[in-house]
Symmetry: C2
Subunit: 211 residues, 2 copies
DNA sequence: AGTTGAACGGGACTATAGTCCGCTTGTTCC
DNA sequence: GGAACAAGCGGACTATAGTCCCGTTCAACT
């Protein structure tokens, strides 16, 4: 995974307070070179068909550099998604309702926020399917280890617990809902029934699970 | 994947009618040797830590033999699960209700059969977690390519469509329910909330989705 | 039983992810 | 500006999945 001030994955707001260890100039340069090269290669040939060797060569850095900085191919994909992911998380934390909490005095029912999340998250995943898929499935269990999963899970859990006793176990239900939003599963579902019906099915499940 | 009479995966009853191509005697011998060796190694060291080289060596066959017969590591895992999977499929197709259809004149509501399926499938996966996980995640999308997925999907879809219009799109809903039963997701969920709460969450979703 | 063609066997070979460690380069502090 | 030390660099190295191809073995047919 990334290090340094500019690359921290948004995991927990508390953790963001650790002082920026300051990234060395050459490291920053190489990080940019790698991300540019990876973006270009992935766009041209598809994420699956690009080897880490190829990325390193195109970026003009050694393999060691690539892996030390990004950990593995999933980490590289995650770094490329970083900005979009942050945008979505920011919108959830502090944006307008129904996706975000809105201004202090307006109240939106949790069910509206659940559906808004489903829509926004589906947009995010469907727009970057191959990168998200790589970041989730490059190694077994990768999806559940990265910090972002914890963020989505906590958000859903809080909303489900607010539905007024309708959901007996928000923590478990949040996992179940996220299973349906997994890139691997969405890929298969979209291939089978198309985007519209897949989206509708997700909403139907969010409906029954939490309002 | 396997070939020959003894190894056909249960996919579609129609396809079972293709004449048995007859497995050669030496092939059958080697198949048994490989399955025995793999079962022993997997049990002793865990599925993840056993390489295909090790299986080939322990079975006393070459790598080529191993891969031609089983395709990949997922195929080997699937072959080891074959009997249990067939048992479950048989119980669903022709066993007693509520899991199976029961004798001709008794009628069981689809919702009972849905919950019976959830329970039986959870038992199956939880009892063989690492093998199922290997068979589903060894290569990206593996789960959705193997025939068994189609079987579970069709079963759920038929039941959902019988719930009397409660489910507008049984085909899509069946995919969503199966997402929650994926080995990868169940592993994470059980680790997070334990078996009991995970099972309850699955039932809650089956409840709301189909009765 | 002999012939023959196809299926099988097996190990060398390739491709790729990921590791390791001695060398180089920045940064910091005097 | 220079020394010292940490951080970063990079390519050789390992491990493993999966491929290929040719010699061997089986089984059907005469």
């Amino acid at each position: 995974m990334e290090r340094g001030a500019a690359g921290g994955r948004r995991v927990d707001l508390e953790l963001m307070r650790t002082p920026p260890p300051k990234e060395r100039a050459d490291a920053a340069r190489n990080r940019a070179k790698v991300l540019d090269a990876a973006a270009a290669l992935f766009a041209r040939h598809g994420v699956e068909s690009v080897s880490m060797d190829a990325v390193a060569a195109a970026a003009g850095v050694g393999k060691g550099t690539l892996f030390r900085r990004f950990g593995d191919k999933a980490g590289l994909a995650a770094a490329l998604l970083n900005q979009r992911e942050r945008d979505l998380q920011d919108a959830i934390l502090s944006g307008p309702s129904p996706l975000g909490p809105g201004k202090g005095d307006e109240t939106v029912p949790p069910s509206d926020r659940l559906h808004a999340f489903a829509d926004a998250y589906l947009d995010y995943v469907l727009d970057h399917m191959s990168l998200v898929r790589m970041s989730e499935t490059a190694s077994p269990g990768a999806r559940y280890r990265i910090g972002a999963y914890g963020f989505w899970h906590r958000h859903l859990m809080i909303l489900l617990d607010r539905t007024g006793g309708a959901v007996p176990d928000g923590e478990a239900a949040a996992h179940a809902l996220l299973a349906v939003l997994g890139a691997e599963h969405l890929t298969a579902m979209v291939e089978s029934v198309g985007r519209e019906r897949a989206r509708a099915a997700v909403h139907a499940l969010f409906d029954t699970a939490g309002g």
